[in-house]
Amino acid sequence: MSDITRQTLFSATAIVKNFGGVQALRGVDFDVIPGEIHALLGQNGAGKSTLVKILNGVHPAGSHTGTIQLDGQSVSFASPADARSSGVGYVPQEIEVLEQLSVAENVFAGRTGLGAGMLVYQRKLEQRAGEIFADLGIDINPRAYVASLTSAQRHLVMIARAIVMKPRVLMLDEPTASLSGTEVDALFSVLRRLKAQGVAMIYITHRLPEVLAICDRATVLRDGQVAVRIAREDFDAETFIFSMSGQRLQRLFPEHAAPVGTPTALDVRHLTVAGHSGAVHGANDISLSVAAGEIVGLAGLLGSGRSEILHGIYGRVPAEGAIRVNGQSVAVRSPADARAAGIALLTEDRKRDGLLFNLPVGANITIGNLAPLSRHGMVRGWLERSSILAAMRALNVKASSPQAAVTHLSGGNQQKLLFARVLMRAPKVLLLDEPTKGVDAATRHEIYRLVVELAEKGVALLIVASELEELIGLCDRCLVVADGRIVDEFNRGEGGEDRVLRSVTSAQAERHAMAAQASS
């Protein structure tokens, strides 16, 4: 261990950060050495993002105490640009992209030296971006506008943006939260290569198998302090969870038996949704049904059309086809229609499609659910407040009060807030798009329990999740989606991750064969 301290590349000592009355970090020490991937773990609100934001100058020098050293030299970053020019790269937890620019322009945003003087060589940018994507094993057109990408694809653009800087230190705040297996694998191979090149990496995640797969050391934060540091030899998911939460989990997925003989709650026939701009498949003649009390998963790769199916059912995008809820045919032309029919949707991108930053935590939970909390159109203050408090307690939303600003919540708590919003609606059919995105292990467990509880109450659930293990563990039945079609279907116990991947691959091979036939 003594040689580790000698080689330390980037370190923080005794970092203390307060947000008004909230102590986010209370004296944290942290360091990385070249060629190391150092996991930063902890429950939602433990202070992980805050620490990397300090190391990256998002929270500028002076807004906290403690020292930061790079290469043995004291540094103080006034801004992320400052950190970047010292070779510190950063992929933030929340999506930050320039929607009106192309993918290539986003990847090289803030970079200079790619053209002659003020001129930028567009072609060169696009070519370079294309190379990076090929490296990452992803299929995004560098010329596409970011506005047309899914949130997972936006995330990959941010990762590419950090990697092109050729950083010496790379900090990734939940980079895989919206990625699925294959994309994660591609990212890992890039990270391994960076590691071989001696880049020091800080890796934040709530997906513990990833830590086992790729990290060399782990530091667990708890309530703004380092709870424990764990060397690779001692890695073990159960230890992680225990040191993060102080709890031992009995079983990861709660037991749930598929309902027998319950009526069909959601029935979708020939649903077709247009895709957009080549990056994302639409839904192509999808028929599916979910029984009351059943948990059905949609598995597939990024851009396969999974989310589009949910959006089509919910009336978010124009769709053709027939939808029945509890046997009643419903015309869903807008989300309002879907809600009136008892359908609720939890969207994937909290910042863009979920949170209302102009309203406090409480109003964010009740928005759209005010009818039962009001009389003659007037909101009944005490009733609203008590139902907000009940909802926050039920989901363990960590916020100083219902009046708190949403921005001040940690990512996982924002997710729980949105969950509280859809549940307040008491839906008959619940569509969940990445329900555990950015949620810590213990809370994830709570959400699984909640999902099963809802199913037991007769709610029909249709879930999209990128983490296959989660989807397969949770769902009674899985539908595999590829290129906007359902290509396979299996019940609990009839298949695992390998089956999903096999169906996807064979569907793609078939498509290529057909395309080849058509062109010959």
Binding site: G20, K53, E94, R316, F357, L370, V379, G381, N396, S401
Partner: protein, 336 residues
């Protein structure tokens, strides 16, 4: 962990006090009220006549006209849009109502309803074009500003509508309390109702959601288009009412009624903490902002400052207010 427990334990240390203080000031109205008190004291010290009964009445009288429009503009800004045609609409509605009760010899009530109808119709048109055709409110309502001015000339031929029926002059001449008349009464009542609606009703909450993030509002089932169009109609109708009150006050349907009000109104409500970016602000704040602006204008006149400087002062105050708005937004929205 338990949110209820955290809620009930108030933070005590000095830092959190400071934080709460900042939060308190960040709430539009309080900061503006404090600034207003300072300004009043300042002008009064320089020129005691500033607080003369006559001057106070004059300020309140002007505020009652533009204030009625400010109520509508606040609602529209909260819904995420804004309207530059309010002054033209006020003028046009006034002269149309004037013509209806004189040239067309309609009963006064019918003529007034006609005037309100003109305002509401223009609001509807603005709303439909902005929402359905996706033309930015800036362009659409700027266009409507010119259209309205042109129509005023068309309707009047360039001459004020005069004389008006006695009933109208009576409305303008009534002294309810402290020399203030019906327009002030209407202004106060409308402001209280609108403030209540935004603060306490489902309609108001949905309005904030619409202005805060249209997509999110849509996804939770709010008909955002209807809210935006409704807000445009409200501004139009309130502008019409304000224009007709001015006509009653003047006893004549002048062709310059409402000209230049659009910027005063927007400057005023923004000073009062209503966000130009949508989804934030209150009617109370907007109204207090207008009052502050008028106090500055009047104070500068009373202490004898050249009128060019008055305009400069209004400009400076508005830029400062927008700056404050941006800082306030950063306080709430940054660091996500």
């Amino acid at each position: 962990m338990n949110s209820a427990a955290e809620v009930s334990s108030p933070p005590r240390d000095a830092q959190s006090f400071r934080r709460r203080l900042i939060g308190f000031i960040a709430v539009g109205e309080v900061g503006v009220l404090a600034a207003m008190a300072l300004l009043v004291a300042f002008f009064w010290l320089l020129e005691p006549a500033f607080l003369s009964e006559r001057n106070i009445r004059a300020i309140l009288n002007v505020v009652s006209f533009v204030g009625i429009i400010a109520i509508g503009q606040t609602i529209l800004l909260v819904a995420g849009e804004f309207d530059l045609s309010v002054g033209s609409v006020a003028g046009l509605s006034a002269v149309v109502a004037g013509k209806l009760m004189t040239a067309a010899a309609l009963p006064v009530t019918a003529a007034i309803l006609g005037g309100i109808g003109v305002g509401a119709l223009i609001g509807l048109l603005n709303g439909l074009i902005v929402v359905r055709l996706g033309i930015p409110a800036f362009i659409q309502t700027l266009g409507m500003l010119f259209i309205g001015q042109g129509l005023i000339q068309v309707v009047t031929g360039g001459y004020p509508v005069y004389p008006l029926p006695d009933a109208i002059n009576d409305i303008g001449g009534t002294d309810l309390v402290f020399g203030l008349g019906w327009s002030f009464a209407f202004f106060i009542i409308a402001a209280i109702i609108a403030d209540f609606v935004l603060r306490r009703t489902v309609l108001g909450r949905n309005m904030y959601a619409t202005g805060g993030n249209k997509e999110v509002a849509h996804l939770v089932g709010i008909n955002t288009n209807a809210y935006k169009i409704g807000a445009f109609i409200t501004v139009g109708a309130l502008s019409a009412i304000a224009g007709m009150f001015v006509m009653a006050d003047l006893g004549s349907g002048g062709t310059s009624i409402g000209s230049g009000w659009e910027l005063t109104v927007i400057a005023g409500v923004v000073v009062g903490g209503v966000s130009l970016f949508g989804g934030a602000g209150t009617v109370a704040g907007g109204v207090v902002g207008i009052l502050l602006l008028k106090i500055v204008q009047s104070g500068l006149v009373v202490i004898g400052v050249n009128s060019n400087w008055q305009q400069i002062a209004v400009g400076v105050i508005m830029v400062m207010a927008v700056g404050l708005d941006i800082v306030r937004r950063r306080y709430f929205i940054a660091g996500a």
